[in-house]
């Protein structure tokens, strides 16, 4: 391929994605106008029968869950003190931070009176799960901003605030883990109050625990996923051994989830629900097989973990399974009670797409302008070729390259 055609191909690909991006933004802005000037009824397919839809089911439930990598990786690196994961801590925290900003924007769309979003700060109801989620999201977003701030300080060369924040890093990380534990599980607790509305395949007294565990699994999966994407988009090196190790953690957490889910079914004797011929059953099986069992087997296989593409598809399945689970709880599982046949309107979808697209754009901007990934080492370790890294010091590597 000549240099010219390569350049033109890259350019046409770039413009293609730019056009897609601007179409998404334009549609999203139109929907934003309709939603805020004509009300939720005009923009969404929501109704009194189906008061929570895509924006809660995807933007909030999935958004918060997919951002769980922020607190898990931070815990691994700073509390468990496993330093070799340090290279991925910044992208993980950045993803989490952007994820929470996306969630907050989505909540502003979903609330009937978004300008009152601050009300829970002074109007308390400690009995309300939503109150707790609100507080935790607020506090954890602050923690994430602080955890991320060293990156900005480094860029600006502000050494003093950098020093101060580094002194508070451990308490910050601990707070982050606590807030995350609370609200990741509480998103499941939200549904504890509707035992007769949520379909029995998803309703469980263990919802908070199941939500928490699945968030941990998908948090790690997301870190692998985005490392892969970043390596392709920004030409960064994949930290293969680290990602493979993370994939093993995902397998462990998924197993825990599966065992708990089965134990829960056994304890409440719900097996027969798994074999009724109705829509919910199919969605349930799709979620369990595609999202849990298949990726569990895949990621448990060393050959798969060694292969970049296979590893990527494995974690992609975990993510899809997670999204299916949250949408099943929020939408599929509520359909039969509501008898409303809810499906999101194109405006709801376009707002979700716009918010996600903005998140991607923000991530790209941050990576471009801030020291997110470790600085390029002179000896780039290719993904596929095994190199005995641990016996070489930095200078050895440089020497080898020079020779």
């Amino acid at each position: 391929m000549s240099a010219y055609s390569l350049v033109s191909r890259v350019r046409s690909e770039l413009t293609f994605w730019k056009i897609v991006f601007f179409i998404i933004i334009a549609l999203g802005l139109y929907s934003t106008y309709v939603r805020f000037f004509h009300g939720l009824g005009a923009a969404t397919n929501l109704s009194d029968d189906f008061p929570w839809g895509l924006w809660i089911g995807f933007d909030v439930l999935c958004g918060v869950g997919l951002a769980a990598g922020g607190f898990t990786i931070a815990a691994v690196v700073y509390i468990f003190n496993i330093k070799r994961f340090k290279t991925i801590v910044r992208p993980a925290i950045l993803t989490a931070f952007l994820g929470y900003l996306i969630v907050i924007i989505a909540i502003l769309f979903d609330l009937g009176r978004p300008y009152r979003i601050w009300h829970p700060i002074i109007m308390w109801n400690p009995h309300s799960v939503m109150f707790e989620v609100g507080w935790c999201v607020m506090l954890y977003t602050t923690v994430l901003a602080l955890e991320f701030s060293p990156v900005v300080f480094e860029k600006l060369r502000w050494s003093k605030p950098l020093k101060i924040i580094k002194n508070f890093l451990i308490p910050l990380v601990i707070l982050g883990v606590l807030f995350s534990t609370l609200h990741q599980s509480s998103l499941g607790s939200l549904y504890l109050v509707v035992p007769e509305k949520l379909y029995p395949l998803w309703y469980s007294p263990l919802l908070p625990v199941l939500f928490f565990i699945s968030a941990i699994a998908v948090g790690f999966a997301m870190v692998i996923f985005e490392s892969y994407l970043s390596s392709r988009a920004f030409g960064k090196n994949l930290e293969r051994p680290i990602l493979s190790e993370l994939a093993r953690i995902v397998v462990f957490v998924l197993t825990l989830y599966l065992v708990l889910k089965l134990m829960d079914f056994a304890r409440r004797d719900m097996w027969h629900y798994m074999f009724i011929n109705r829509t919910e059953t199919y969605f349930f099986w799709a979620e369990m097989l595609l999202g849990i069992i298949v990726p569990m087997i895949m990621l448990a296989t060393p050959a798969v973990r060694r292969n970049q593409k296979a590893l990527f598809s494995g974690v992609l399945l975990v993510i899809i399974g997670f999204v299916m689970n949250r949408l099943n709880v929020a939408i599929t599982g509520m359909e039969s009670y509501a008898a409303a046949d809810y499906f999101p309107s194109w405006m709801e979808i376009s707002v979700t797409m716009m918010v996600v697209a903005l998140g991607f754009a923000a991530f790209r901007m941050a990576v471009k302008h801030l020291p997110i990934f470790e600085r390029e080492k002179p000896a780039a370790i290719p993904f596929t070729k095994p190199v005995k890294v641990k016996f070489m010091t930095e200078s050895d590597k440089t020497e080898k390259i020079l020779n």
Partner: protein, 257 residues
């Protein structure tokens, strides 16, 4: 004293005077001609024929004793008043619609077509009760099918009626136990389940389900915080100790700088 309603479907003739009175008192638009609860219908009279018997029955906010809406609202916009009514403070509401999601009777309704919406539902004419009056629907009812009064007295009346006319009533007072008990009580000639009211696995108050988890939060925070800090301290300490070369019986004291 806690007030409530006793609704006796055997006395209801389906004249809909309660609906009209409710619309008037709450200044609700009459454009909603459906017989479903909505932002313009705080109460409706429904009709069902069961074994050649025309039964008229009302639907409205049940004013639970331990209301789910009160428990789920993140900004405490709902309040169970000592007088019995569950009332709504629109100036607090942010419009998250968790109340609509959670209400076991599907009562709160949302102003979907307003740019600045609020939730709407029956408030048992709280202002009239405070002023010593009775709610508009009970006042309008010509047959005493909707009776307003002290809940305990209403329970007595309901028991009396069932006892005196054993063949006329299904021997069950709906609302004594449902959703942990409601201020609105219903008696009828048939089981309320046949009219579409929830009865099965419906006796416990719902807020308990979330409170069981919510009350553990202080434990999670204190235990989790101490545990995580301890974990960090131990791991960090061991790493530091490993870094110091072991030289004889000297106790490694690493100085913090």
């Amino acid at each position: 004293m806690s007030f409530g309603f006793l609704i006796d479907t055997t006395l209801c003739v389906g004249c809909e005077a309660c609906m009209v009175a409710c619309d008037e008192r709450n200044k609700l638009s009459e454009e909603d001609e459906s017989y479903e609860l909505s932002v313009n219908n705080y109460t409706v009279v429904k009709n069902k024929t069961i074994s050649d018997q025309d039964i008229y029955y009302r639907q409205m906010c049940m004013h639970c004793e331990d209301p789910t809406c009160v428990s789920v609202c993140p900004v405490a916009a709902f309040e169970k008043t000592p007088e019995g009514p569950v009332i709504y403070h629109g100036d607090r509401c942010m419009g998250c619609r968790y109340c609509i999601m959670a209400c076991p009777f599907d009562v709160p309704k949302f102003e979907w077509n307003k740019a600045l919406p609020l939730v709407r539902k029956c408030d048992m004419c709280y202002d009239r009760i405070k002023a010593g009056g009775i709610p508009a629907c009970a006042e309008a009812c010509p047959t005493e099918a909707t009776l307003f009064g002290d809940r305990d007295e209403l329970i007595e009346i309901a028991r009396q009626r069932i006892r005196d006319n054993k063949d006329q009533y299904y021997p069950y007072i709906y609302g004594l136990e449902e959703a942990g008990g409601t201020s609105v009580l219903i008696i009828s000639s048939v089981s309320l389940a046949e009219l579409g009211f929830k009865m099965k696995n419906f006796q416990a108050a719902f807020p308990k389900l979330t409170w069981e988890v919510m009350k553990e939060i202080p434990n999670v925070v204190t235990f989790g915080g101490v545990f995580l800090y301890g974990l960090w301290w131990i791991i960090n300490r061991r790493i530091k100790l490993q870094e110091i070369p072991a030289n004889g019986d000297e106790i490694p004291e690493k100085e913090e700088k």
